[in-house]
């Protein structure tokens, strides 16, 4: 087998094995969106009226509306979690092991990314299955067509995590990531409210939401679940992935990156 593939498979397999060992992580990843779905959505159903907006063709309940957003949330958290484990890897030294491989660095980091995406896609499908158990069933083909959308959105959010891990040196700084990345990204997006709803309260908010790459990841997933392609969202997510991954590579490049700032003995 080709050396590149061998390395990629090993990295993905290692990540998967690690994930299987951490059952609590899987459970937490699942419980979080379910709590939103069951508790939050039930409360908000009364407060928020939904009009018919694409890709929906009929009136929908709020639970149905936030499903794609919660899929995105799973991937967002997963991306940040991978980033956390990368920072941990750097502190523990196993990142060094990875980086001294003779394969190109971008390939190794892409493998790392894909490993995280595989885990997040698995989580999303389990979540969708549980949601179906609660009676929120989506169009049959949607479950298949959402796969490429999840892969791309997972890559984009994973690349963001990678970028963050290249700038953060210590685990302690990670709380800041929660406050300044995850929460704004999630709340200032179409995950919980559609754009027109945002516009009602403030056009500035709406503009921020419209520029947020997470919004486009959610919309890409939403449209795919209803067997439609949102070309604009696709473009936006792909572009965001390219930018985040490019910057992350720069961050991990020994000639440019943070390694320069590091003190050795």
């Amino acid at each position: 087998m080709n050396a590149w593939l061998v390395a990629m498979l090993a990295i993905v397999r290692r990540e998967a094995a690690r994930f299987v060992h951490q059952r609590s992580r899987f459970l937490a990843a699942l419980v979080r969106p379910l709590v939103w779905l069951v508790v939050f959505a039930a409360g908000f159903r009364a407060a928020l009226g939904m009009s018919i907006i694409p890709p929906y063709e009929t009136y929908i309940t709020y639970e149905v509306y936030i499903i794609p957003g919660l899929c995105g949330m799973i991937q967002l958290f997963n991306g940040m979690q991978s980033s956390l484990s990368l920072v941990y890897d750097q502190e523990m030294g196993s990142m060094r092991l990875l980086l001294t491989s003779p394969l190109p660095r971008w390939w190794l980091l892409l493998s790392k990314l894909l490993a995280g995406v595989a885990v997040s896609v698995l989580q999303v499908y389990v979540f969708l299955a549980v949601a179906a158990g609660f009676g929120i069933v989506l169009p049959g083909w949607g479950y298949v067509l959402v796969l490429p959308a999840l892969l791309l959105s997972g890559l984009m959010l994973g690349a963001l995590g990678l970028l963050i891990s290249s700038t953060i040196r210590q685990l302690e700084n990670f709380a800041g990531v929660m406050n300044f990345v995850i929460f704004p990204m999630f709340f200032l997006s179409t995950a919980l409210y559609p754009l027109w709803k945002m516009a009602e309260s403030s056009t500035l908010l709406r503009d921020i939401c419209a520029a947020n790459p997470f919004t486009h990841a959610v919309e890409l997933i939403r449209f795919a679940l209803y067997q439609r392609l949102n070309g604009w969202a696709l473009l936006w997510v792909a572009l965001a992935f390219a930018v985040f991954f490019g910057l992350a590579l720069l961050g991990y490049d020994p000639a440019h990156g943070m390694s320069r700032r590091r003190k050795g003995g």
Binding site: G93, S101, P102, P254, S259, G264, G265
Partner: protein, 244 residues
């Protein structure tokens, strides 16, 4: 051709010079990179493994220039970092094979090489154990075995005995001397003179400069090596002690 050739290497952290024109060429066998803490050993290792890069100076590994052919150069280097880099939840064998895969080695080849490398370090019977269940000395030996799996020409070890008890240290020092005797080029960073055998080469590094490069016997003359080392580096602490 020498397996590892370093010429006029310089590196700074901001205004602080960590390496200031380091040059040496290693012949096959055991070379100790002897220097007190802060001499620049870890910086040198980061450059040799391309975790850092510098524009000043050259590193050549088995004829491959690190700046121009980094991947060819890295494929000829085996490295054991000062910090352990094991996956504690995986078995020894799985750790070995993960690393083999990072070098593009898979399948039966990977298994065979892992077994051979473990046997070289006297670790064959521990292949199935979880890394977590190994003691410090055995973990280190596993890391050394792992660094050999892609058959490098140069083995770099950055203070590999830090934190180990006397017996484990001696075992590892003996094992690596055995590898060097078999023709491998070994660069062993340390600040402990008792890890250096009479026939070894010694590079003394201090404040980012090479103070001496000579066989240990020649360097010490008729005095203990520790004394010579202390004199050269102005270290007041006993260099033979095991503290880090």
């Amino acid at each position: 051709m020498t397996a590892l050739d370093v010429s006029d290497l310089r590196y700074s952290y901001g205004p602080k010079r960590a390496l200031d024109g380091v040059s040496f060429a290693l012949r096959p066998g055991f070379t100790a990179l002897l220097g007190p803490n802060g001499a620049g050993k870890s910086t040198l290792f980061a450059l040799l493994t391309r975790l850092f890069v510098t524009r000043e100076g050259h590193i050549t590994v088995a004829g491959h220039d690190m700046a121009r052919e980094p991947r060819a150069a890295l494929s000829k280097i085996g490295v054991v970092f000062q910090q352990p880099t094991l996956d504690l939840d995986m078995s020894v064998m799985r750790n070995m094979r993960y690393f083999a895969a990072l070098h593009g080695i898979s399948g039966r080849e990977s298994g065979n090489r892992a077994e051979a490398a473990l046997a070289q370090l006297g670790m064959a019977e521990r292949a199935g154990e979880k890394a977590r269940s190994l003691n410090g000395g055995h973990r280190r030996r596993m890391e050394i075995a792992r660094a050999l799996i892609h058959r490098p020409e140069v083995l770099l070890l950055d203070e590999p005995t830090v934190g180990l008890d006397f017996e484990s240290r001696q075992a590892i020092v003996a094992h690596v001397h055995g590898l060097a005797a078999a023709g491998l080029t070994v660069l062993w960073a340390t600040h402990l003179v008792d890890e250096i055998a009479e026939g070894d080469d010694v590079v003394v590094l201090h404040r980012g400069r090479v103070l001496a490069h000579a066989p240990a016997a020649e360097l010490r003359g008729d005095r203990p090596l520790a004394e010579v080392f202390i004199e050269m580096t102005g270290q007041t602490r006993m260099a033979g002690e095991g503290q880090g």
